[in-house]
Amino acid sequence: MSRIVSSATIAELRESLRAIQGDGFKRRPVLPFGVAALDERIASGGLRLDSLHEIAAASPDPSDDAAATLFMAGAAARAWGPVLWVVRRRDLFAPGLYQAGLDPERVLYAEAADDAEVLALMEEGLRHRGLGAVIGEVKRAAMPNTRRLQLAAEGGKTIALLLKRHAREGGNPLHVPSAAITRWRIGSAPSEPLPVEGVGRACWHVALVRQRGGEPFETIMEACDETGRLALPARLADRAAAADGADRYSYVDAA
């Protein structure tokens, strides 16, 4: 009971804080993850629809990159309308995105020649207001550029997702100053153990590196399912029940 009260109080306090910040809108459209453990720790209770979010892979490894891609695909799948995906290279594999819940009929792909064009096309898509999500893949985006995107997103219902890819010379892509509301780092983690041989449900290291009005955190989540929803791993959600199972059937031939 006290917990409910406290969360209501906190929500009220947050509301008043937002009023002080003076964004002009009191209630903003939010895309929740549907996982309480995640949503409660995000200041807005989910991904805010009318703003920019940055996602980066934990490492330049293709698997981590694919995890970050699917994280965005899942978010776009749970958003409401058509999706504009601005790429630099045509390496996206639509069947994989479909398996994260993103129907091919919803996705419009555009290929940009350079990072500046990616950002310009994204801004065009955000200003159109008819899209559910706009996704872009860049290596570098300076503060003014991300601020432009954030301003273009405000007032609409289009979620802007910016995948920051690792540059050739290394460095953390999320360390660059940015106007994004949240910044995520996604990497793949060992999958759920199965009682039989085989690869279980994929898991991700999900780290919210920075967020406006909230604390960073890090956790392990099960990857997007066919509808784009993340889930809490069974061994975290119900540690006692799953623990002995996992012990008993630890994966078989690791040789």
């Binding site: 293709p62 698997s63 069947p95 020649a113 899209l131």
Partner: protein, 650 residues
Amino acid sequence: MPRGSGWRPGAKWARADDRAPVTEHLETARQRKAKVAAEIAALPAHQRPALRDLGRRSEAAAMPFRAMPPDEATGGQPFRPAGSLPKSLGPSANGLPRRRESRATGDSVRDSGPPPARETGEALPLVTSLKHGSRLVIAAACPAARALGLAPGMAITQARALVPGLDIRDADPAGDAADLLRLATAAARRWTPIAAVSDADGLLLDITGTAHLFGGEAAMARRIVRLLARLGFTAHVAIADTPGAAWAISRFGTQGRRPGAGRGRCAPGRDGRPKHSGPGLRRGDGVVIVPPGEHAAAIAPLPLAALRLDPAAIDALVHLGVETVGQLTALPRAPLARRFGDALLTRLDQAHGRVAEPLDPVVPPEPIAVVQRFAEPIATAEAIEHWLDTLVPRLVTALAQAGKGARMLELVADRIDGVPQRLRIGLARPSRDAAHMLRLITRRIAEIAPGYGIDSLALHVRRADPLGAQPFEERLEERAADIAPLVDMLANRIGDARLWRMRPVESDVPERSLEPAAPLADAARAIDRLKPDDVRRLDRGVDLHPWHPRWPRPARLLRRPEPLDHVIAELPDQPPRRFTWRGQTHRVVRADGPERILGEWWRRAIEADSVRDYFRVEDEAGHRFWLFRRGDGERPETGDLAWFIHGAFG
């Protein structure tokens, strides 16, 4: 023979010394061949021996499983590039169904191509087939085929029994009608403002007041015939006072038409056509000109079919002993009307000119464009924008009047130094939205180089699609905005080729399981677009999406599979224990597979045996990859057991 030089029969050095006798021998052989060919050509088509009977060794005997020429509703022979179509099929091809020549001249790739030319160059008798009820009948036959006794309406099976080696193709009535309409449009542009399509194979031109522009009626008719002959058509032209008489004489009264050679209405095999040498008829090559006021006499000897009557009425009249138009005209009208209804008398009166017969003329489409000329040249972006503000609404009005929506616009700015500046705007969907067009154009004004000034601005519609009246949008509820304007904006910025959608394709090979589609294309799956008789419609299994999650696919696919090094795996179907990719060694702790994907033998012959065994593996760090091995590990012809990586899972 020089040693080690790779002797081959007929090598140059081997026959250099006895070249002269060989040429002489060839010469005589060629002459002999020409003589035999001439003798054969003199024979009627059905008596000509098959090439095999001539003892030609070069011609193999017909193989029993050889693909036959297309006969029954098949697509026909394999595709043949348009460039290899002969422009004309020779004199014996005259009077062929229209479709054929127009295609041959139009170089359309829809054509199934001409029959394989035999070495002697003879043209096979050709007929087109049409499905009539449940059987195939001849729709039209070439003169050579008619000489052999084939006629429209005869069953194809009977024709094939009568004439072996008959070239049978599908008739295409819709294509014929489209070509005829094009011809009518061309006539309306060139000959007379009133040109109408009369029926499946004729045009009616009202040349009142235009004949003198082409040197008189006779000269005009000859020019029309010559023009059509150049295009590959055999035309018959009749000029008379009434459309009905012209129709009748063009089909039944022109010179040189053999019995049964008429198009359409002439009953097969009916001969004994009366000799119609009417008074004062002037004849040329397929041209008949009836002097004014003599059309009644000219059509009097023609058969009843010349009146465009109902076949049942014709049969009944023939039964009564009435065979020509003249006999019909002589009958009292009242009993005729009682017996056959008004239609017969109307046709008779139309032919005689007692009842008006209005034509339904073809209106040639006019290109839509608006132009604004300036007294003083303009050179600034603001001025151009200002005038575009007035031009675009005018263009939209013109489009609305034509019932069209623009798909591609071109802005042409004529500079005073004569270098036009062109700007093309594409629209993903037919549109008449002035604000949208204006936005697209004004964004690109900067690309115009005004030079010393711009004399005139013109907006041309380069491509337009039909677009009906658009309802006002009711904003009662909030709806998702149309993304067509966004597509236009993006496409005009980065180009059409860099904006696409993905569409699933029924294929297990990952690279082929998707195809790009236009941004606003209908997203229907390929399975829904199958033809009604496609064999895949028989599949009654559960309709799974081709990308069903049961077969996991990576989020990003490598452009081409990359080879792996140092792979340790058990044969035949165990996943690898470790592998090295891009210099990094991965130890596999978990794996799924194999998912065996077989080559698509119907695409390429070399895929008939090939196999890829896909594995989904996870290494110690939790990275998941999609690997495959070429070959199934048992039969060497399926692959060389090399390992590749094809993508990464999240």
